[in-house]
Amino acid sequence: MAAGANADTAAEVDAHSDVWVFVEQHDGEVAKVAWELLAKGRELADQKDEDLVALVMGEDIRETDIPQQAIARGADRVLVADDPIFEPYRADPYGEQFRHLVEQRKPDIALIGGTHTGRDFAGRVAVPTHAGLTADTTELEITDERYEMRRPAFGGDALATIICPNHRPQMSTVRPGVFDTPEPDESREGEVEDVETVVGEDETLTEVLEREVGDVADITDAEVVVAGGMGLEGDFDPLWELADLLGGEVAATREAVEEGWIEPARQVGQTGKTVRPKLYIAVGISGAIQHVEGMDDSETVIAINNDGNAPIFENADYGIVADYAEVLPELIELLRERLDDTPEVSA
Protein backbone atom coordinates (compact mmCIF):
# COMPACT_ATOMS: atom_id res chain seq x y z
CA MET A 1 0.00 0.00 0.00
CA ALA A 2 1.35 3.39 -0.97
CA ALA A 3 2.13 5.91 1.72
CA GLY A 4 -0.33 8.73 2.17
CA ALA A 5 0.29 12.10 0.63
CA ASN A 6 0.53 14.03 3.86
CA ALA A 7 3.47 16.40 3.72
CA ASP A 8 6.52 15.39 5.69
CA THR A 9 7.46 17.53 8.65
CA ALA A 10 10.64 19.57 8.87
CA ALA A 11 11.90 17.06 11.41
CA GLU A 12 11.31 14.29 8.90
CA VAL A 13 13.34 16.21 6.32
CA ASP A 14 16.14 16.71 8.86
CA ALA A 15 16.14 13.00 9.73
CA HIS A 16 17.46 12.13 6.28
CA SER A 17 21.13 12.19 5.42
CA ASP A 18 23.67 10.67 3.02
CA VAL A 19 23.95 10.54 -0.72
CA TRP A 20 22.99 7.23 -2.32
CA VAL A 21 24.00 6.03 -5.74
CA PHE A 22 22.44 3.01 -7.40
CA VAL A 23 25.13 0.89 -9.07
CA GLU A 24 23.32 -0.69 -12.01
CA GLN A 25 24.79 -3.98 -13.12
CA HIS A 26 23.64 -6.77 -15.39
CA ASP A 27 25.52 -10.10 -15.35
CA GLY A 28 28.40 -8.48 -13.49
CA GLU A 29 28.75 -5.65 -16.02
CA VAL A 30 28.34 -2.24 -14.42
CA ALA A 31 26.59 0.49 -16.40
CA LYS A 32 29.12 3.29 -16.78
CA VAL A 33 26.63 5.90 -15.62
CA ALA A 34 26.95 4.40 -12.13
CA TRP A 35 30.61 5.42 -11.98
CA GLU A 36 29.67 8.88 -13.24
CA LEU A 37 27.10 9.16 -10.45
CA LEU A 38 29.58 8.02 -7.80
CA ALA A 39 31.99 10.74 -8.90
CA LYS A 40 29.28 13.39 -8.69
CA GLY A 41 27.90 11.83 -5.50
CA ARG A 42 31.34 12.08 -3.86
CA GLU A 43 31.42 15.79 -4.60
CA LEU A 44 27.94 16.30 -3.12
CA ALA A 45 28.61 14.18 -0.04
CA ASP A 46 31.79 16.16 0.66
CA GLN A 47 29.92 19.44 0.33
CA LYS A 48 27.29 18.24 2.78
CA ASP A 49 29.77 16.43 5.00
CA GLU A 50 27.77 13.22 4.63
CA ASP A 51 28.53 9.68 3.51
CA LEU A 52 28.35 8.40 -0.03
CA VAL A 53 26.56 5.06 -0.12
CA ALA A 54 26.52 2.75 -3.14
CA LEU A 55 23.73 0.21 -3.54
CA VAL A 56 24.26 -2.88 -5.68
CA MET A 57 21.65 -5.55 -6.41
CA GLY A 58 22.20 -8.85 -8.16
CA GLU A 59 23.34 -12.41 -7.69
CA ASP A 60 26.82 -13.41 -6.46
CA ILE A 61 27.86 -9.76 -6.33
CA ARG A 62 30.41 -10.55 -3.61
CA GLU A 63 32.24 -12.76 -6.11
CA THR A 64 32.79 -9.77 -8.39
CA ASP A 65 34.99 -6.74 -7.77
CA ILE A 66 31.98 -4.42 -8.01
CA PRO A 67 31.87 -3.51 -4.28
CA GLN A 68 35.62 -2.75 -4.26
CA GLN A 69 35.27 -0.79 -7.49
CA ALA A 70 32.47 1.27 -5.97
CA ILE A 71 34.76 2.14 -3.04
CA ALA A 72 37.63 2.97 -5.37
CA ARG A 73 35.27 5.31 -7.17
CA GLY A 74 34.21 7.19 -4.09
CA ALA A 75 31.75 5.20 -1.97
CA ASP A 76 32.19 5.19 1.83
CA ARG A 77 29.83 2.25 2.19
CA VAL A 78 28.47 -0.33 -0.22
CA LEU A 79 25.16 -2.03 0.43
CA VAL A 80 24.89 -5.37 -1.36
CA ALA A 81 21.49 -7.00 -1.93
CA ASP A 82 22.57 -10.41 -3.13
CA ASP A 83 19.88 -12.86 -4.17
CA PRO A 84 18.90 -14.82 -7.30
CA ILE A 85 15.67 -12.79 -7.33
CA PHE A 86 17.66 -9.76 -8.52
CA GLU A 87 19.03 -11.44 -11.65
CA PRO A 88 17.98 -10.69 -14.32
CA TYR A 89 16.59 -7.28 -13.46
CA ARG A 90 12.84 -6.87 -12.81
CA ALA A 91 11.10 -3.67 -11.73
CA ASP A 92 9.01 -5.16 -8.94
CA PRO A 93 11.68 -6.90 -6.83
CA TYR A 94 14.20 -4.10 -7.42
CA GLY A 95 11.65 -1.44 -6.50
CA GLU A 96 10.50 -3.25 -3.37
CA GLN A 97 14.03 -3.92 -2.10
CA PHE A 98 15.15 -0.36 -2.76
CA ARG A 99 11.99 0.99 -1.08
CA HIS A 100 12.69 -1.06 2.02
CA LEU A 101 16.28 0.21 2.28
CA VAL A 102 15.25 3.82 1.71
CA GLU A 103 12.59 3.66 4.43
CA GLN A 104 14.90 1.89 6.83
CA ARG A 105 18.00 4.05 6.33
CA LYS A 106 16.60 7.41 5.19
CA PRO A 107 18.99 8.80 2.59
CA ASP A 108 18.73 12.50 1.76
CA ILE A 109 19.08 11.93 -1.96
CA ALA A 110 19.28 8.86 -4.20
CA LEU A 111 20.76 9.05 -7.70
CA ILE A 112 19.88 6.47 -10.33
CA GLY A 113 21.18 6.24 -13.90
CA GLY A 114 18.70 7.43 -16.51
CA THR A 115 18.89 4.13 -18.36
CA HIS A 116 15.89 2.01 -19.33
CA THR A 117 16.46 0.07 -16.12
CA GLY A 118 16.77 3.15 -13.93
CA ARG A 119 13.79 4.92 -15.45
CA ASP A 120 11.80 1.69 -15.16
CA PHE A 121 12.09 1.19 -11.41
CA ALA A 122 12.80 4.66 -9.94
CA GLY A 123 9.08 5.36 -9.75
CA ARG A 124 8.47 2.12 -7.91
CA VAL A 125 10.64 3.50 -5.13
CA ALA A 126 9.53 7.13 -5.29
CA VAL A 127 5.80 6.39 -5.13
CA PRO A 128 5.63 4.37 -1.89
CA THR A 129 8.29 6.50 -0.17
CA HIS A 130 6.59 9.70 -1.39
CA ALA A 131 9.93 10.91 -2.68
CA GLY A 132 10.37 13.77 -5.09
CA LEU A 133 11.64 12.17 -8.28
CA THR A 134 13.29 14.33 -10.92
CA ALA A 135 13.74 12.76 -14.35
CA ASP A 136 16.82 13.07 -16.51
CA THR A 137 18.77 15.58 -14.50
CA THR A 138 21.57 17.19 -16.46
CA GLU A 139 22.87 19.53 -13.73
CA LEU A 140 22.87 18.96 -10.01
CA GLU A 141 24.15 21.34 -7.36
CA ILE A 142 23.69 22.40 -3.78
CA THR A 143 22.51 25.97 -3.21
CA ASP A 144 21.79 27.15 0.35
CA GLU A 145 22.16 23.54 1.51
CA ARG A 146 19.39 22.54 -0.84
CA TYR A 147 19.68 20.34 -3.89
CA GLU A 148 18.77 21.97 -7.16
CA MET A 149 18.28 19.67 -10.10
CA ARG A 150 18.14 21.05 -13.58
CA ARG A 151 16.56 19.19 -16.43
CA PRO A 152 15.54 19.93 -19.98
CA ALA A 153 11.88 20.65 -20.66
CA PHE A 154 9.92 21.20 -23.83
CA GLY A 155 12.22 19.20 -26.03
CA GLY A 156 15.29 20.96 -24.69
CA ASP A 157 14.18 24.51 -25.41
CA ALA A 158 14.00 25.25 -21.71
CA LEU A 159 15.85 24.23 -18.59
CA ALA A 160 13.67 23.67 -15.53
CA THR A 161 15.04 23.80 -11.99
CA ILE A 162 13.40 21.19 -9.79
CA ILE A 163 13.46 21.45 -6.02
CA CYS A 164 12.07 19.21 -3.36
CA PRO A 165 11.60 21.40 -0.29
CA ASN A 166 9.30 19.33 1.93
CA HIS A 167 9.86 15.69 1.12
CA ARG A 168 12.63 13.18 1.68
CA PRO A 169 14.24 11.41 0.12
CA GLN A 170 14.78 13.25 -3.11
CA MET A 171 15.50 11.04 -6.03
CA SER A 172 16.74 11.66 -9.50
CA THR A 173 17.50 9.76 -12.63
CA VAL A 174 20.56 11.19 -14.38
CA ARG A 175 21.45 10.73 -18.01
CA PRO A 176 24.50 8.74 -18.98
CA GLY A 177 27.39 10.90 -20.15
CA VAL A 178 26.48 14.01 -18.17
CA PHE A 179 29.16 13.70 -15.49
CA ASP A 180 32.84 12.77 -15.73
CA THR A 181 34.37 9.52 -14.55
CA PRO A 182 37.76 10.11 -12.97
CA GLU A 183 40.25 7.26 -12.54
CA PRO A 184 39.43 4.96 -9.62
CA ASP A 185 41.60 5.28 -6.52
CA GLU A 186 42.33 1.69 -5.48
CA SER A 187 43.75 2.83 -2.15
CA ARG A 188 40.42 4.20 -0.89
CA GLU A 189 38.84 2.28 1.95
CA GLY A 190 35.22 1.65 2.72
CA GLU A 191 32.78 -0.81 4.20
CA VAL A 192 30.81 -3.47 2.37
CA GLU A 193 27.58 -4.58 4.00
CA ASP A 194 25.20 -7.36 2.96
CA VAL A 195 21.58 -6.41 3.41
CA GLU A 196 18.62 -8.64 4.03
CA THR A 197 16.47 -9.57 1.02
CA VAL A 198 12.89 -8.53 1.67
CA VAL A 199 11.21 -9.83 -1.48
CA GLY A 200 10.26 -13.40 -2.27
CA GLU A 201 9.81 -15.06 -5.64
CA ASP A 202 6.20 -15.93 -4.83
CA GLU A 203 5.39 -12.20 -4.55
CA THR A 204 6.80 -11.22 -7.93
CA LEU A 205 4.50 -10.03 -10.68
CA THR A 206 6.76 -10.65 -13.67
CA GLU A 207 9.00 -13.28 -15.17
CA VAL A 208 11.82 -12.71 -17.66
CA LEU A 209 11.38 -15.35 -20.37
CA GLU A 210 14.31 -14.37 -22.54
CA ARG A 211 17.07 -11.77 -22.52
CA GLU A 212 19.24 -11.09 -25.54
CA VAL A 213 21.93 -8.50 -25.02
CA GLY A 214 24.93 -8.14 -27.28
CA ASP A 215 28.01 -6.00 -26.94
CA VAL A 216 26.70 -2.60 -26.09
CA ALA A 217 28.24 0.16 -28.10
CA ASP A 218 29.34 2.92 -25.75
CA ILE A 219 29.14 6.15 -27.67
CA THR A 220 29.31 8.21 -24.47
CA ASP A 221 32.99 7.35 -24.11
CA ALA A 222 34.15 8.04 -27.67
CA GLU A 223 36.62 10.81 -28.50
CA VAL A 224 35.27 11.03 -32.02
CA VAL A 225 31.61 10.58 -32.95
CA VAL A 226 30.38 10.45 -36.54
CA ALA A 227 26.60 10.79 -36.49
CA GLY A 228 24.03 10.40 -39.22
CA GLY A 229 20.46 11.54 -39.69
CA MET A 230 17.61 11.35 -42.16
CA GLY A 231 19.71 12.97 -44.89
CA LEU A 232 21.59 9.70 -45.29
CA GLU A 233 18.53 7.73 -46.37
CA GLY A 234 19.92 4.69 -44.60
CA ASP A 235 23.38 4.78 -46.15
CA PHE A 236 25.56 4.57 -43.04
CA ASP A 237 28.49 2.76 -44.71
CA PRO A 238 30.64 5.84 -45.31
CA LEU A 239 30.06 6.88 -41.69
CA TRP A 240 31.44 3.58 -40.43
CA GLU A 241 34.42 3.98 -42.70
CA LEU A 242 35.11 7.50 -41.45
CA ALA A 243 34.61 6.51 -37.80
CA ASP A 244 36.98 3.55 -38.21
CA LEU A 245 39.58 5.79 -39.76
CA LEU A 246 39.34 8.30 -36.91
CA GLY A 247 39.09 5.69 -34.17
CA GLY A 248 35.60 6.83 -33.28
CA GLU A 249 32.06 5.56 -32.95
CA VAL A 250 29.03 5.92 -35.18
CA ALA A 251 25.90 7.54 -33.73
CA ALA A 252 22.54 8.66 -35.06
CA THR A 253 19.44 10.75 -34.56
CA ARG A 254 16.24 9.34 -33.18
CA GLU A 255 14.66 9.35 -36.64
CA ALA A 256 17.50 7.27 -38.08
CA VAL A 257 17.13 4.79 -35.22
CA GLU A 258 13.39 4.60 -35.76
CA GLU A 259 13.96 3.86 -39.43
CA GLY A 260 15.93 0.83 -38.26
CA TRP A 261 19.16 2.00 -39.89
CA ILE A 262 21.15 1.62 -36.69
CA GLU A 263 20.70 0.21 -33.19
CA PRO A 264 19.03 2.29 -30.44
CA ALA A 265 22.17 2.20 -28.24
CA ARG A 266 23.74 4.66 -30.69
CA GLN A 267 21.02 7.29 -30.46
CA VAL A 268 22.14 10.77 -29.41
CA GLY A 269 19.71 13.30 -28.04
CA GLN A 270 17.02 13.99 -25.54
CA THR A 271 15.67 10.46 -25.51
CA GLY A 272 19.03 8.91 -26.31
CA LYS A 273 22.49 9.48 -24.96
CA THR A 274 24.56 12.52 -24.17
CA VAL A 275 27.98 12.48 -25.82
CA ARG A 276 30.90 14.82 -25.29
CA PRO A 277 33.64 13.90 -27.72
CA LYS A 278 36.52 16.07 -28.89
CA LEU A 279 35.07 15.91 -32.36
CA TYR A 280 31.45 15.47 -33.47
CA ILE A 281 30.77 15.13 -37.17
CA ALA A 282 27.07 15.53 -38.00
CA VAL A 283 26.19 14.13 -41.41
CA GLY A 284 22.75 14.66 -42.93
CA ILE A 285 21.42 15.86 -39.58
CA SER A 286 19.03 18.80 -39.62
CA GLY A 287 19.80 19.77 -36.03
CA ALA A 288 16.50 19.49 -34.17
CA ILE A 289 16.85 20.78 -30.62
CA GLN A 290 16.23 17.30 -29.21
CA HIS A 291 19.31 16.05 -31.02
CA VAL A 292 21.50 19.09 -30.34
CA GLU A 293 20.88 18.68 -26.64
CA GLY A 294 22.69 15.35 -26.68
CA MET A 295 25.80 16.61 -28.50
CA ASP A 296 26.13 20.18 -27.29
CA ASP A 297 29.03 19.34 -24.99
CA SER A 298 31.20 18.25 -27.92
CA GLU A 299 34.39 20.31 -28.19
CA THR A 300 34.32 20.78 -31.94
CA VAL A 301 31.32 20.18 -34.18
CA ILE A 302 31.51 19.75 -37.93
CA ALA A 303 28.34 19.63 -40.01
CA ILE A 304 27.81 18.21 -43.47
CA ASN A 305 24.37 18.86 -44.92
CA ASN A 306 23.02 19.75 -48.34
CA ASP A 307 20.48 22.14 -46.83
CA GLY A 308 22.27 25.38 -46.07
CA ASN A 309 19.38 26.51 -43.86
CA ALA A 310 19.53 23.48 -41.58
CA PRO A 311 19.76 24.58 -37.92
CA ILE A 312 22.72 22.24 -37.39
CA PHE A 313 24.97 24.89 -38.95
CA GLU A 314 24.16 27.23 -36.06
CA ASN A 315 25.32 24.53 -33.68
CA ALA A 316 28.48 23.69 -35.59
CA ASP A 317 31.94 25.20 -35.63
CA TYR A 318 32.59 24.30 -39.24
CA GLY A 319 30.10 23.29 -41.84
CA ILE A 320 29.92 22.46 -45.50
CA VAL A 321 26.76 22.70 -47.55
CA ALA A 322 27.07 19.70 -49.80
CA ASP A 323 25.82 16.21 -50.51
CA TYR A 324 27.26 13.72 -48.07
CA ALA A 325 27.65 11.13 -50.85
CA GLU A 326 30.17 13.42 -52.55
CA VAL A 327 31.85 14.86 -49.47
CA LEU A 328 32.49 11.73 -47.44
CA PRO A 329 34.54 9.71 -49.96
CA GLU A 330 36.70 12.75 -50.66
CA LEU A 331 37.05 13.52 -46.96
CA ILE A 332 37.98 9.93 -46.16
CA GLU A 333 40.64 9.95 -48.84
CA LEU A 334 42.10 13.28 -47.71
CA LEU A 335 42.17 12.18 -44.09
CA ARG A 336 43.70 8.83 -44.94
CA GLU A 337 46.61 10.64 -46.61
CA ARG A 338 47.08 12.98 -43.69
CA LEU A 339 46.81 10.33 -41.04
CA ASP A 340 49.30 8.19 -42.95
CA ASP A 341 51.71 11.13 -42.90
CA THR A 342 51.36 11.58 -39.18
CA PRO A 343 50.49 8.20 -37.72
CA GLU A 344 51.05 9.39 -34.13
CA VAL A 345 47.85 11.45 -34.17
CA SER A 346 45.63 8.68 -35.46
CA ALA A 347 45.04 7.38 -31.91
Binding site: A2, R90, G132, F154, T161, V216, E299, G319, V345
Partner: protein, 259 residues
Amino acid sequence: MTDGWNIVVCVKQVPDAAEVSIDPDTGILNRADAEAVMNAPDYNAVEAALEVRDEVGGTVTALTMGPASAHEVLRGAVAMGADDAVLLTDRAFGGSDTWPTSLALARAAEELDADVVFGGEETTDSSTGQVPPGIAAHNDWAQLTYVEDLEPRPDEDQLVAKRDVEGGYERVAADLPVVVAMEFGENQPRTAGLHRKIYAETDFEPVEWSAADIDVEDEVGLAVSPTQVGGMATAEPVPREQEKVDDVEEIADQIAEVL
Protein backbone atom coordinates in the same frame (compact mmCIF):
# COMPACT_ATOMS: atom_id res chain seq x y z
CA MET B 1 -11.57 -15.28 -19.42
CA THR B 2 -14.11 -15.24 -22.21
CA ASP B 3 -15.47 -11.71 -22.08
CA GLY B 4 -12.15 -10.07 -22.90
CA TRP B 5 -10.08 -7.50 -21.06
CA ASN B 6 -10.85 -4.11 -19.62
CA ILE B 7 -8.22 -2.02 -21.31
CA VAL B 8 -7.53 1.57 -20.27
CA VAL B 9 -5.31 3.85 -22.33
CA CYS B 10 -3.93 7.03 -20.78
CA VAL B 11 -3.51 9.94 -23.15
CA LYS B 12 -2.37 13.50 -22.55
CA GLN B 13 -3.11 16.79 -24.20
CA VAL B 14 0.16 18.66 -24.72
CA PRO B 15 1.17 21.86 -26.48
CA ASP B 16 2.44 21.09 -29.96
CA ALA B 17 6.18 20.92 -29.23
CA ALA B 18 7.02 22.55 -32.53
CA GLU B 19 5.02 25.63 -31.60
CA VAL B 20 5.97 26.30 -28.00
CA SER B 21 7.87 29.55 -27.75
CA ILE B 22 9.81 31.14 -24.94
CA ASP B 23 9.49 34.80 -24.06
CA PRO B 24 13.05 36.06 -24.54
CA ASP B 25 12.65 38.67 -21.76
CA THR B 26 11.05 36.59 -19.03
CA GLY B 27 12.17 33.11 -20.04
CA ILE B 28 8.59 31.95 -19.52
CA LEU B 29 7.05 29.45 -21.90
CA ASN B 30 4.19 30.67 -24.02
CA ARG B 31 2.14 27.50 -23.89
CA ALA B 32 -0.93 29.39 -25.03
CA ASP B 33 0.62 30.06 -28.43
CA ALA B 34 0.82 26.41 -29.23
CA GLU B 35 -2.02 24.27 -30.48
CA ALA B 36 -3.09 21.53 -28.05
CA VAL B 37 -2.54 18.07 -29.50
CA MET B 38 -2.36 14.48 -28.34
CA ASN B 39 1.08 13.56 -27.01
CA ALA B 40 2.76 11.82 -29.95
CA PRO B 41 3.80 8.57 -28.17
CA ASP B 42 0.19 8.17 -26.96
CA TYR B 43 -0.87 7.33 -30.53
CA ASN B 44 1.31 4.22 -30.21
CA ALA B 45 -0.36 3.46 -26.88
CA VAL B 46 -3.88 3.79 -28.35
CA GLU B 47 -2.92 1.59 -31.30
CA ALA B 48 -1.47 -1.08 -29.00
CA ALA B 49 -4.60 -0.97 -26.82
CA LEU B 50 -6.85 -1.44 -29.85
CA GLU B 51 -4.72 -4.29 -31.18
CA VAL B 52 -4.90 -6.13 -27.85
CA ARG B 53 -8.67 -5.62 -27.73
CA ASP B 54 -8.97 -6.91 -31.30
CA GLU B 55 -7.08 -10.03 -30.23
CA VAL B 56 -8.61 -10.88 -26.86
CA GLY B 57 -11.90 -8.99 -26.91
CA GLY B 58 -13.09 -6.53 -24.32
CA THR B 59 -13.21 -2.75 -24.27
CA VAL B 60 -10.80 0.15 -24.55
CA THR B 61 -11.43 3.21 -22.38
CA ALA B 62 -9.37 6.33 -22.98
CA LEU B 63 -8.43 8.22 -19.83
CA THR B 64 -6.95 11.65 -19.31
CA MET B 65 -6.57 14.24 -16.59
CA GLY B 66 -6.90 17.88 -17.50
CA PRO B 67 -9.17 20.85 -18.07
CA ALA B 68 -12.45 20.58 -19.97
CA SER B 69 -10.60 21.25 -23.21
CA ALA B 70 -8.87 17.88 -22.80
CA HIS B 71 -12.11 16.40 -24.21
CA GLU B 72 -10.41 16.80 -27.54
CA VAL B 73 -7.73 14.13 -26.98
CA LEU B 74 -10.37 11.73 -25.70
CA ARG B 75 -12.42 12.33 -28.84
CA GLY B 76 -9.27 11.64 -30.84
CA ALA B 77 -8.86 8.29 -29.11
CA VAL B 78 -12.55 7.44 -29.59
CA ALA B 79 -12.27 8.37 -33.27
CA MET B 80 -9.37 5.89 -33.56
CA GLY B 81 -11.56 3.18 -32.03
CA ALA B 82 -11.69 3.49 -28.25
CA ASP B 83 -15.08 2.43 -26.89
CA ASP B 84 -15.39 4.95 -24.11
CA ALA B 85 -13.54 7.78 -22.41
CA VAL B 86 -13.13 9.29 -18.95
CA LEU B 87 -11.93 12.80 -18.15
CA LEU B 88 -10.54 13.48 -14.69
CA THR B 89 -11.19 17.15 -14.25
CA ASP B 90 -11.13 19.20 -11.10
CA ARG B 91 -9.35 22.32 -9.88
CA ALA B 92 -7.96 20.14 -7.10
CA PHE B 93 -5.67 18.43 -9.64
CA GLY B 94 -3.94 21.72 -10.52
CA GLY B 95 -0.18 21.77 -10.05
CA SER B 96 0.11 18.01 -9.61
CA ASP B 97 3.53 16.55 -10.38
CA THR B 98 3.96 12.93 -11.46
CA TRP B 99 3.25 11.53 -7.96
CA PRO B 100 -0.38 12.74 -7.61
CA THR B 101 -0.96 12.51 -11.36
CA SER B 102 -0.13 8.83 -11.37
CA LEU B 103 -2.19 8.38 -8.20
CA ALA B 104 -5.31 9.86 -9.83
CA LEU B 105 -4.83 7.74 -12.95
CA ALA B 106 -4.19 4.66 -10.81
CA ARG B 107 -7.42 5.20 -8.84
CA ALA B 108 -9.38 5.72 -12.04
CA ALA B 109 -7.88 2.55 -13.53
CA GLU B 110 -8.97 0.65 -10.41
CA GLU B 111 -12.43 2.17 -10.69
CA LEU B 112 -12.57 0.99 -14.30
CA ASP B 113 -11.51 -2.48 -13.15
CA ALA B 114 -8.62 -2.39 -15.61
CA ASP B 115 -6.76 -5.51 -16.67
CA VAL B 116 -4.25 -3.57 -18.75
CA VAL B 117 -3.38 0.14 -18.64
CA PHE B 118 -1.52 1.59 -21.59
CA GLY B 119 0.47 4.80 -21.80
CA GLY B 120 3.04 6.36 -24.10
CA GLU B 121 6.73 6.08 -23.21
CA GLU B 122 6.83 9.72 -22.13
CA THR B 123 5.21 13.06 -22.89
CA THR B 124 6.67 15.60 -25.25
CA ASP B 125 6.19 18.45 -22.78
CA SER B 126 7.61 16.99 -19.57
CA SER B 127 9.48 13.90 -20.82
CA THR B 128 9.66 12.25 -17.40
CA GLY B 129 8.43 8.78 -18.37
CA GLN B 130 7.39 8.46 -14.71
CA VAL B 131 3.64 8.22 -14.97
CA PRO B 132 3.20 4.62 -16.21
CA PRO B 133 5.57 3.17 -13.56
CA GLY B 134 3.89 5.49 -11.05
CA ILE B 135 0.44 4.07 -11.82
CA ALA B 136 1.81 0.54 -11.43
CA ALA B 137 3.51 1.45 -8.15
CA HIS B 138 0.40 3.10 -6.66
CA ASN B 139 -1.67 0.00 -7.40
CA ASP B 140 1.12 -2.50 -6.78
CA TRP B 141 0.57 -3.86 -10.28
CA ALA B 142 3.11 -5.24 -12.73
CA GLN B 143 4.68 -2.88 -15.25
CA LEU B 144 6.24 -3.23 -18.68
CA THR B 145 8.08 -0.20 -20.08
CA TYR B 146 9.86 0.49 -23.39
CA VAL B 147 7.56 -2.08 -24.98
CA GLU B 148 8.07 -2.89 -28.65
CA ASP B 149 5.66 -5.73 -29.11
CA LEU B 150 2.93 -7.54 -27.17
CA GLU B 151 1.62 -11.06 -26.97
CA PRO B 152 -1.55 -11.40 -24.86
CA ARG B 153 -2.11 -14.71 -23.07
CA PRO B 154 -5.72 -14.42 -21.93
CA ASP B 155 -5.90 -18.06 -20.80
CA GLU B 156 -3.11 -17.44 -18.30
CA ASP B 157 -4.16 -13.89 -17.36
CA GLN B 158 -0.79 -12.72 -18.57
CA LEU B 159 0.60 -10.23 -21.01
CA VAL B 160 4.01 -10.95 -22.54
CA ALA B 161 6.03 -8.05 -23.88
CA LYS B 162 9.18 -7.62 -25.87
CA ARG B 163 11.00 -4.72 -24.19
CA ASP B 164 13.85 -2.64 -25.49
CA VAL B 165 16.81 -2.80 -23.10
CA GLU B 166 20.29 -1.35 -23.49
CA GLY B 167 22.13 -3.41 -26.07
CA GLY B 168 19.28 -5.73 -26.92
CA TYR B 169 15.82 -6.81 -25.86
CA GLU B 170 14.04 -9.01 -23.37
CA ARG B 171 10.72 -10.82 -23.24
CA VAL B 172 8.87 -10.47 -19.98
CA ALA B 173 5.63 -12.11 -18.88
CA ALA B 174 3.54 -10.01 -16.49
CA ASP B 175 0.52 -11.02 -14.44
CA LEU B 176 -2.63 -8.93 -14.90
CA PRO B 177 -3.36 -6.21 -14.06
CA VAL B 178 -0.37 -4.65 -15.78
CA VAL B 179 0.68 -1.15 -16.86
CA VAL B 180 2.34 -0.93 -20.28
CA ALA B 181 4.40 2.00 -21.56
CA MET B 182 4.74 1.72 -25.33
CA GLU B 183 7.98 2.80 -26.92
CA PHE B 184 7.50 5.71 -29.31
CA GLY B 185 7.18 4.72 -32.95
CA GLU B 186 6.87 0.97 -32.34
CA ASN B 187 3.62 0.50 -34.24
CA GLN B 188 1.70 2.23 -37.00
CA PRO B 189 -1.23 4.06 -35.36
CA ARG B 190 -4.41 3.62 -37.38
CA THR B 191 -6.14 6.63 -38.85
CA ALA B 192 -9.66 7.41 -37.71
CA GLY B 193 -12.42 6.49 -40.14
CA LEU B 194 -14.80 9.24 -41.19
CA HIS B 195 -17.90 7.82 -39.51
CA ARG B 196 -16.06 7.19 -36.29
CA LYS B 197 -14.67 10.72 -36.41
CA ILE B 198 -18.12 12.22 -36.83
CA TYR B 199 -19.42 10.08 -33.96
CA ALA B 200 -16.56 11.17 -31.69
CA GLU B 201 -17.04 14.84 -32.51
CA THR B 202 -20.83 15.06 -32.43
CA ASP B 203 -22.50 12.22 -30.52
CA PHE B 204 -19.92 11.16 -28.00
CA GLU B 205 -19.59 12.66 -24.51
CA PRO B 206 -16.79 11.52 -22.20
CA VAL B 207 -17.62 10.67 -18.61
CA GLU B 208 -16.28 13.26 -16.17
CA TRP B 209 -14.93 12.42 -12.73
CA SER B 210 -13.86 14.84 -10.04
CA ALA B 211 -11.14 14.22 -7.45
CA ALA B 212 -13.86 13.31 -4.95
CA ASP B 213 -15.34 10.76 -7.37
CA ILE B 214 -12.11 8.77 -7.16
CA ASP B 215 -11.52 9.66 -3.53
CA VAL B 216 -8.23 11.51 -3.94
CA GLU B 217 -9.24 15.08 -3.13
CA ASP B 218 -6.70 15.40 -0.30
CA GLU B 219 -3.92 13.61 -2.15
CA VAL B 220 -3.55 15.63 -5.35
CA GLY B 221 -2.47 19.09 -6.41
CA LEU B 222 0.50 21.32 -5.91
CA ALA B 223 0.57 21.13 -2.11
CA VAL B 224 1.17 17.39 -2.01
CA SER B 225 3.49 17.24 -5.01
CA PRO B 226 6.96 16.31 -3.74
CA THR B 227 8.74 18.16 -6.54
CA GLN B 228 8.34 21.80 -7.40
CA VAL B 229 9.56 23.81 -10.32
CA GLY B 230 11.96 26.34 -8.82
CA GLY B 231 12.54 28.21 -12.05
CA MET B 232 12.57 27.95 -15.79
CA ALA B 233 15.35 29.26 -17.99
CA THR B 234 15.89 29.34 -21.68
CA ALA B 235 18.52 26.80 -22.61
CA GLU B 236 21.57 28.79 -23.65
CA PRO B 237 23.06 27.65 -26.92
CA VAL B 238 26.74 26.71 -26.77
CA PRO B 239 28.72 29.33 -28.69
CA ARG B 240 30.01 27.89 -31.96
CA GLU B 241 32.20 29.27 -34.75
CA GLN B 242 29.37 28.74 -37.26
CA GLU B 243 31.81 28.98 -40.13
CA LYS B 244 30.75 27.59 -43.46
CA VAL B 245 33.48 26.44 -45.81
CA ASP B 246 33.30 25.61 -49.51
CA ASP B 247 36.02 23.06 -49.76
CA VAL B 248 36.25 19.52 -48.36
CA GLU B 249 39.98 20.16 -47.90
CA GLU B 250 39.19 22.74 -45.24
CA ILE B 251 36.99 20.28 -43.38
CA ALA B 252 39.85 17.76 -43.47
CA ASP B 253 42.18 20.46 -42.10
CA GLN B 254 39.87 21.16 -39.19
CA ILE B 255 39.48 17.46 -38.38
CA ALA B 256 43.25 16.91 -38.53
CA GLU B 257 43.75 19.89 -36.26
CA VAL B 258 41.32 18.65 -33.63
CA LEU B 259 42.90 15.20 -33.63
